[in-house]
Symmetry: C2
Subunit: 332 residues, 2 copies
């Protein structure tokens, strides 16, 4: 494996000159440059980035923490993060935390170990205090999942308003018995959506009943299916609002198995706007979050943070979209 020394020798210049050619930031005569470039080609030389990063005390690498890449909601966000990262010469390390605090912390040691320069959280198990402490010495950004009191730049939609919007959409079709498939209550987004649901009901004079709520901290097809079993057992909704598309799709499946027609006998609405919501049978009404754009914005915030630039707005709120599909469109 050729080193910068080998290149210098072969080109008949000093290592400093080779380094200058490599980094294209200082004056080098064209003649030297050509000699160096030729030597690089002939030796098939590649700089050792461990050495470079050590010397420059930077890594151009960032950490992206998410619960699991299996969740299609994250895939598009990551795509956005990655595109911006690449454009700025950063590469990303994607890490599944499995919602395990220990695992999350293990990955975060990469910050101290200088393997990465910053981190984007798509979700986190850490407490507000832990996050704030970590943020003191490190560049962090939260994407889609913010918690009040956390002093970290973040990107998100107005979860409260979005949930209210979609529940009002259901109410607009005459539904007054609306079941809720509720997500992990440790997540602020869940609580905001919950409040949106509650307030929509309240403002339309509908009493809220616990029987109409199914709670699951894990968002999976299975839980969506179980939600339907439970909700139908303990109540008699005519519509269901699920806080994630994944669970909504599980619900559609369970309803189909039971022979309950959607939307005629039961309307179903989701949240997130994953790709699959467009091809489920029936198509799923949902709130589309602008994942890609949010991912891009998160990475841009992180770059500013890592460069110690002042961030004009630490809270970026994106617009969502209500996608109306067959799952709520009753044939009147």
């Amino acid at each position: 494996m050729a080193t910068i020394q080998d290149v210098a020798k072969k080109a008949g210049v000093s290592v400093a000159t080779v380094s200058r050619v490599l980094n294209k930031n200082q004056k080098v005569t064209q003649k030297s440059a050509l000699k160096v470039e030729r030597a690089i080609r002939e030796l098939d030389y590649h700089p050792n980035f461990l050495a470079r990063d050590l010397r420059k005390a930077e890594s151009n690498r960032i950490l992206v923490l998410l619960q699991t890449i299996s969740n299609p909601f994250y895939a598009t966000i990551v795509r956005g993060i990655e595109d911006v990262a690449r454009r700025h010469g950063y590469s990303i390390m994607l890490c599944n935390t499995d919602s395990d605090l220990e695992r999350e912390k293990e990955y975060l040691t990469l910050l101290y170990k200088k393997m990465v320069q910053g981190a984007i959280f798509l979700d986190t198990e850490m407490s507000t205090e832990q996050l704030n402490e970590l943020a003191e010495n490190n560049s962090l950004v939260l994407c889609c999942e913010y918690r009040k009191g956390v002093n970290v730049p973040h990107v998100m939609i107005d979860n409260y308003r979005a949930a209210k919007t979609i529940v009002e959409h259901l109410i607009g079709f005459g539904h007054r018995k609306i079941g809720l498939i509720c997500g992990d209550r440790h997540l602020e987004s869940t609580m905001l959506r919950y409040n949106g649901y509650v307030d929509a009901l309240k403002e339309h004079g509908i009493a809220m009943e616990d029987n109409f709520i199914f709670q699951s901290s894990e968002s999976s097809f299975q839980m969506g299916q179980r939600a339907v079993e439970t909700l139908l057992y303990k109540s008699d909704p005519t519509a269901i609002f699920s806080m994630s598309d994944i669970m909504a799709i599980g619900a559609l499946k369970a309803l189909h198995k039971k022979g309950i027609r959607v939307p005629d006998e039961m309307a179903v609405a989701g949240f997130d706007g994953i790709e699959y919501s467009a091809v489920s049978v029936p198509g799923l009404t949902t709130i589309k979050q602008p994942n890609y754009e949010m991912g891009c914005a998160a990475m841009e915030l992180l770059i500013q943070k890592m460069h110690n630039e002042t961030i004009a707005n630490e809270e970026l709120i994106f617009e969502y979209e209500l996608l109306i599909r067959e799952s709520t469109l009753k044939n009147v």
Copy 2:
């Protein structure tokens, strides 16, 4: 940021002793060890891994190349890779290549740059020659996507036999006009599945017709939908075999839109066994690949390779499973 020097000073020992404590591989008196550990705690010291990796000429990091994490088929494989990697002290860098050769090569420079010690390909755009050349100086493993003539350890199922199995399943239900949604023909797995389809027909005395084949190099819901449009336009199949679940699910959607009942008017079979296939409406008959186990095996192979151990078997063939669900079960 504390360094090993600071710890040595604080503990009143040499940096070598600190290093020994850190790496727990050499004799250190308990007394020294305690002093060092205390200093580490007090200074909140974390070793700089850039320095360590440079010095040891190793990184304990590997590259995982895939087309896109959006593809749920990959998610489970990655989980397997990651679990084994973690167990052995490796971390992984997940990279979306977008099936772009340039992008793939860019990531692969991380091997030369010494940022990673090995790579697992879930797919690749490189030629056989390019792969073989890269394999000369680097530790590589292919997972699920192997090409004849490539001199690299690999893990896969018997794609030929699996495709034949599922097509015979369709034939068993009396289908003789079986449409094919064919994947990217640059992939060996596609060609093997194609041969399985062809031979199944042949052995049952069914003539193969090009009209019954839809070709797409991109596996997406959209393409699955378009496949149905096209196949129904130019032929009259009673069953469709899709080489990926993703496209099969798109096909289910298109059939539903057209009011064609599955499986009564059209049977549909997929391939891969992604989670969605269990909750689509109707449930999708498919070939389940043991993704998680294959991911684990791929990582284990890579570790052996990186440790220069001799690999007993460079080709690991895993068993698949035919999952029979509603999409092919005609109500006789």
